[in-house]
Symmetry: C2
Subunit: 330 residues, 2 copies
């Protein structure tokens, strides 16, 4: 009998095939081998990207030249425009506003051949620092309510360039999925006076079947009701409502890279999407929401059932996925 | 400047690139040519599927033999099990229940080479009849709250078999996306005392830029805030809360097939997902919800931004998509 499970954070139900779960070898999706050729993100081609917004390089070096270890530039083909007013307006029954927002790219490392799981740990830590610095800066712009940090690895996961990079999109509205999580977390807090994420961490640490790894400050789990096989979630163990106010990036980089290495080992370098969810600017420090990273390997297709229902069919129980990932020798 | 548009039915925002919209030729996705080979859905192989639940065939013919024009059978690999009790239960903070539901396949036509857009119109009409009959039957089972009808065309859209077929999944819970639409429609009704869908139809008929086609009873539009390029929606012009209580399937079949033919012509047979949204069994006849068909051609990838935000980036304004589809000579 399959199981219907409800994700307590989003309120979303998923169908889990608990009986004959699909094993890692049942999924054929791999990141395509890198083709190489000209790459605007490689060192030496700094002049072909928009100018640096932020870069980690030795003091005194000129911007947009070689010598950097990390660069942040504006997206050359932004989804939203950074200039302009919102101009919220109705069109009869409909609502619209100008597509105002920032869209930036974080080039995590100059080496074309590396990924978040193979680059030096220092580069992963630097990327987290860069996210934090850019969010802090974009927050000053009163038009923006939220910054979504995400990463697409592999063309099947939507990456249009193969050189490893992450993206930030500053938005004039709080994303729908974040609003849903905030709503559920708030309801739970009103009832229990506890953070739902803290309670989940407590339960998972006792149960152990869905825990993948832990260090002093962070824990990686397979969520109870994952949308996708081998979906994982990284959370700070202590309550923190927004993305690292105290900036402990060393331990976060360590568990993030370890999680990606475990996934690469078990699933042979699957394409994936990674997203950071954090409290919106407006109520950044609160008792009910808990920032986290979600990682979804791209192994199944979104089809009519998912488009029509908002439910997901997941052929691998998270308990089995967690066991595979936990036992991966990296 | 891109535009942020809000879909008034789901409450979801999308980013529309209104300046340099992607044209049909910019999308490379096509349905793969059919490979043929053994097919359980072809005539002569009736014994290889689960037994017929419903079939359209001449009186007196034996079930599960040749001679049918349409067959409905249980899905051999169902997402949910039809036997069993729900057994809702908690697991600490989490909620789960048995995966009880029905999962059926509608084989719309015996000919392996045809699709909904190329099969005889009578077959399309029969498929709609079959949906209606199966929903009416499944409704009698008190465990079920909703039946989602959907179709995946092409392997890129999630079809695992190439012989044209639709699917029905009876669910013990109302799908999340339907709940969202019901909520928004209800809010609107409380405020305006009118159906939001009726108001949208009225505005679109006046505006005309997003209308694709019409007949006496139905209208096809490109929604104001579509998730995907060339997304379309078919609605009954008069208020009807649930899937065709008076059963006018001829005109529905006609506009559905025409819409798919226009899409095939403009986008060269794209893979697509089709879903029917209707009021749940519990409050089937009401003044605020309006059943409809959604068709999403599979032209873009769902990536980190969409997974993380629940927003969509749509590179083709619906006004341009509607013009292409409207002017397609079929």
């Amino acid at each position: 009998m399959p199981e219907l499970r409800k994700d307590p954070i989003s309120g979303r139900w998923v169908i889990i095939s608990v009986e004959r779960g699909k094993r890692p070898s049942d999924f054929g999706m791999r990141v395509s081998p890198k083709k190489g050729g000209f790459c605007a993100f490689c060192k030496g081609n700094e002049h072909t990207t928009p100018p640096e917004i932020l870069a980690f390089r030795n003091n005194g070096e000129k911007p947009d030249t070689e010598g950097w270890t990390l660069r942040v530039v504006a997206n050359k083909f932004p989804a939203l425009n950074v200039e302009g007013k919102l101009d919220r307006v109705g069109e009869g029954i409909f609502d619209k506003m100008n597509g105002v927002g920032a869209h930036e790219v974080v080039i995590e490392c100059p080496d074309h051949s590396l990924t978040l799981s193979t680059m030096p740990l220092k580069s992963v830590e630097d990327a987290l620092w860069a996210f934090h610095q850019r969010i802090t800066d974009l927050k000053k712009d009163s038009r923006f309510k939220y910054v979504l940090v995400f990463k697409n690895e592999g063309d099947q996961a939507g990456a249009s360039l193969e050189h490893s990079h992450s993206q930030l999109i500053a938005l004039p509205i709080v994303p729908h999925l974040v609003e849903e999580e905030l709503f559920q977390a708030n309801q739970y807090y009103k009832y229990k006076e506890r953070c739902i994420f803290c309670d989940i961490i407590h339960q998972e640490q006792g149960d152990k079947t869905r825990v993948i790894s832990e260090n002093d400050d962070f824990i990686t789990i397979a969520p109870f009701a994952p949308r996708s096989p081998f979906e994982t979630m990284i959370l700070p163990k202590n309550h923190e409502s927004s993305f690292l106010p105290d900036g402990n990036f060393t331990l976060l980089a360590e568990i993030l890279q370890r999680t990606l290495q475990q996934m690469d080992k078990v699933l042979h370098m699957p394409p994936y999407n990674l997203m950071i969810h954090t409290s919106p600017f407006k109520n950044e420090i609160n008792d009910y929401y808990h920032w986290h990273i979600e990682i979804i390997p791209k192994l199944t297709k979104i089809a009519g059932f998912e488009w029509g229902s908002g439910f997901y069919i997941n052929p691998t129980p998270p308990e089995e996925a967690a066991e595979f990932l936990r036992e991966a020798e990296i």
